[in-house]
């Protein structure tokens, strides 16, 4: 008897459930679990009564690998966490190491990090919008979003040579300066991108089916959001104005002007709308960064073989999915003693069993989509 059946049997024995409810396995092979996530859902007709997530299908013990690599060598592995926002993983890790080692990075590197980070946020939110459209049955939006995302990837490819796993940031700055004319390309991309947003809106925000599908479902109350330590758009969708870029600024985010969109009721619509507006805000930040980017070096002079002083640090950044934290304990050698990633989607996903009960199966898909999970990061 497999563990699944065993568990089912246990649940049956413990709860004594009636035969009118049925357990449905959503995943691990299911089109809308965004990877290999398995949700065990108890259905009463079409209504979800209970949800038990199972994950770990892509677990590769990232933290154990990290404990056995030098500080620089971990950077390529961080790409593989949240592969839709690799730059942010690099950033979070490098920032934690820089804080731990007390490295000041050059001004130009700070600006380029913000610029690239916000472009990454746009790309990540675009892919989220597209896949969310797919969850709701709108395939066209998915393709359109991918088209613009590809343009961002082209920009990143010109900078780092990679389209997905960039490993572009280094402890102390960036690996390379941007190529000539790249900033002009970013401007050209923004010129193209800004008129596309109303087109997305026509298919999504303004469309009545879209509105009716996601309004008032998957409500996450603010107190639950805090208790489950949700972060990013999930927390802001519940009406809490909390953005690490504003509330605990890292890098040079205190120099930029942008708004934090928040929702009101904490339903799927709010989470959608927060992300949709964050794309606008990211465009704003990119424009500001483009305007005052200074010349200079992009990498601080750091030793080839980095050693961190004994100590520990919990450092966090606001990735597109929420608070991406790195907890590093250094023992003075060239590799960390303990390296833990606080994955935002892992934490946000833990609130899913609170959001789902009482809604339909179709809503379960929408709610799961609105949490914006990346299974590689959940499983680590």
């Amino acid at each position: 008897m497999t563990t699944v059946n065993l568990h089912l049997q246990q649940v049956k024995e413990q709860t004594g459930e009636s035969m009118e409810e049925m357990w449905v396995n959503m995943g691990p092979q299911h089109p809308s679990t965004h990877g290999v996530l398995r949700l065990l859902i108890k259905l009463d007709g079409e209504v979800v009564r209970e949800c038990i997530p199972y994950m770990g299908y892509m677990h590769r013990c990232h933290e154990k690998i990290g404990e056995n690599r030098a500080y620089v060598q971990i950077i390529p592995y961080t790409d593989r966490l949240d592969y839709l926002a690799s730059m942010y993983n690099n950033w979070a890790y490098c920032l934690a190491c820089e804080r731990l080692m007390g490295i000041q990075i050059p001004e130009r590197a700070e600006y380029l990090r913000v610029l690239i980070g916000e472009l990454q946020r746009i790309a990540s939110h675009l892919i989220w919008l597209g896949t969310f459209g797919l969850d709701l049955g709108n395939f066209t939006l998915f393709m359109w979003c991918f088209r613009e995302r590809e343009m961002v990837l082209d920009l990143f490819e010109a900078v780092s040579g990679q389209r997905l796993n960039y490993s572009f940031m280094r402890i102390g700055g960036l690996a390379l300066d941007v190529p000539e004319g790249w900033l002009g390309d970013v401007k050209a991309f923004l010129q193209w991108f800004k008129p596309r947003l109303p087109e997305y809106d026509r298919l999504s925000t303004d469309n009545i089916i879209w509105q009716k599908r996601i309004q008032g479902v998957g409500i996450l109350k603010p107190e639950d959001a805090v208790s489950y330590a949700c972060s990013g758009p999930v927390l802001r969708g519940s009406g809490i104005r909390w953005d690490l870029r504003k509330n605990d600024p890292y890098g040079i985010y205190d120099r930029f002007e942008f708004d934090i969109p928040v929702g009101t009721s904490g339903d799927v619509w709010d989470r959608f709308w927060v992300r949709r507006q964050e794309i606008d805000q990211s465009v704003r930040i990119v424009e500001q960064a483009l305007k005052d980017i200074p010349p200079g070096p992009v990498l601080a002079p750091v030793a080839k073989k980095l050693r961190a002083p004994v100590g520990d640090i919990y450092s966090r950044v606001e990735s597109p999915r929420g608070e991406l934290g790195d907890y590093i304990i250094a023992d003075g050698s060239e590799k960390p003693y303990r390296y833990k990633v606080r994955a935002p989607t892992f934490v946000n996903l833990s609130a899913l069993p609170v959001m789902l009960p009482g809604y339909l199966v179709a809503d379960a898909v929408a709610v799961l989509g609105s949490v914006d999970i990346v299974l590689c990061e959940v499983d680590r």
Binding site: T3, M55, G56, H59, C61, E63, K64, I65, E67, N68, R69, A70, R99, D224, V226, S227, Y228, A229, I240, W242, N247, D248, G311, D312, I313, Y314, R316, E323, G325, Y327, I329, E334, K335, Y337, R338, K340, R342, F346, V347, S350, A351, V354, D379, R380
Partner: protein, 168 residues
């Protein structure tokens, strides 16, 4: 509330529990004995008002024969961060669960149980979370052995030494 004040309040309340405490980079860092971890966490959450548990992480201090659970706690209403580290003996790593205080601790504690073998009392559903349920051992312990494990490449290597033959 500055980090010093936080530490003072905790020390005043749980004088016998706190092993070490210091302020680093503006964060209150303290190491406590494990038997009162739930009460200290409740004090931090309910009386100091730090209602947001960022991260819960296990650490294996094999040299000191101890296990540690590090809570990174902050607040959405006030600045300041607390890193609370509860030490338990390595042979009997048992702590009180903080799930009643923070819902998010549920999966974090399951992860610590899964990868470190730290057991949490009063946890509603302490199962493995990332590894299969029939997995043997706890991989993040420092003495965990696995033949598939790729060691740190810089160990025991002199320049030019051959590690393994490859064919082209």
């Amino acid at each position: 509330m500055t980090a010093e004040e936080i530490l003072q309040q905790i020390r005043a309340r749980f004088a016998s529990e706190v092993r070490t405490s210091e302020v680093r980079r503006g964060e209150a860092t303290l190491t406590v004995k494990a038997d009162q971890n739930f009460e200290i966490c409740r004090f931090i959450k309910e009386e100091l008002g730090f209602e947001y548990l960022n991260c819960l992480s296990g650490v294996d201090w094999i040299g000191e024969n101890e296990m540690e659970v590090a809570y990174a706690i902050s607040s959405l209403r006030q600045p300041g961060k607390i890193i609370l580290r509860a030490r338990v003996p390595r042979d009997e790593p048992v702590l009180r669960s903080v799930v009643p205080l923070w819902g998010t601790a549920d999966w974090h504690e399951r992860e610590a149980f899964d990868l470190f073998g730290i057991r949490f009392e009063n946890h509603p559903d302490l199962r493995r979370i990332l590894l299969p349920e029939d997995w043997i051992g706890h991989p993040l312990r420092k003495d965990y052995q696995d033949e598939r494990f790729v060691p740190y490449p810089w160990d025991d290597r002199k320049p030019g030494s051959v590690v393994r033959p490859t064919t082209a």
